[in-house]
Amino acid sequence: MLEDINFLLIREIISSVLIIIGVMFMLISTIGLLRFPDFYIRMSAITKGATLGLGLILSGMGIYFNEPDMFLKVVLIIGFTFLTSPVAAHVIGRTAVRNKIPFWDRTNLDEFKDYLHKEHNVHRDHERDNKQV
């Protein structure tokens, strides 16, 4: 019974499905990077979509090879990507707020206004300090 099942074919089918879903996520997030109107919206699109797509592609590859060291390397890459991609997005977004990159005109900034005012004032204070020194 168990010898009749073609395990290679099953692995190929699962890997193909995972890779196609992952590539679709990458494609949609790249279209979002090209089409969205604002820096912050673009950054949220690629941070979520590209990370999920990369995880799906890599897990499909790990299922196809079906070896322990390959699984270890795949888990290493996925863990590192899932750990570092939000940190990089946070740092770049904070830098963009500091540098006064404009928001989209339809973004609702009511609750964010105090923070923006404070950040830009801090920024101006630093500029003044540098001029005094």
Partner: protein, 89 residues
């Protein structure tokens, strides 16, 4: 050509299309943080292409390239953001 290699070649073509569109955003990006995020997505696309190429050739040595790339992409975007924050103060 089996359906599996067709799937892999289709995936590589779609990721190459992603690379082209990311390059367009890298060229027309109005500000420097746009270009940094485009570089981030560029590195992610290249990691995906390396993974699919590993599966296409069956050679397991290529996956080490993806580990190193995922390290250096994070380092590159963080250092760019740090430089940007320091240079505008």
């Amino acid at each position: 050509m089996s359906f599996f290699s067709f799937t892999l070649i289709f995936a590589m073509a779609a990721l190459s299309l992603c690379l082209i569109m990311t390059g367009i955003r890298f060229a027309i990006g109005p500000s420097l943080p746009d270009r940094i995020t485009a570089f981030d997505l560029f590195v992610a696309n290249v990691i995906g292409i390396v993974a699919i190429y590993t599966e296409l050739t069956g050679n397991e040595d290529f996956i080490d390239v993806a580990i190193i790339l995922s390290l250096f992409g994070f380092l590159g975007s963080i250092s760019f953001a740090y430089y940007l924050m320091k240079s505008t103060r």
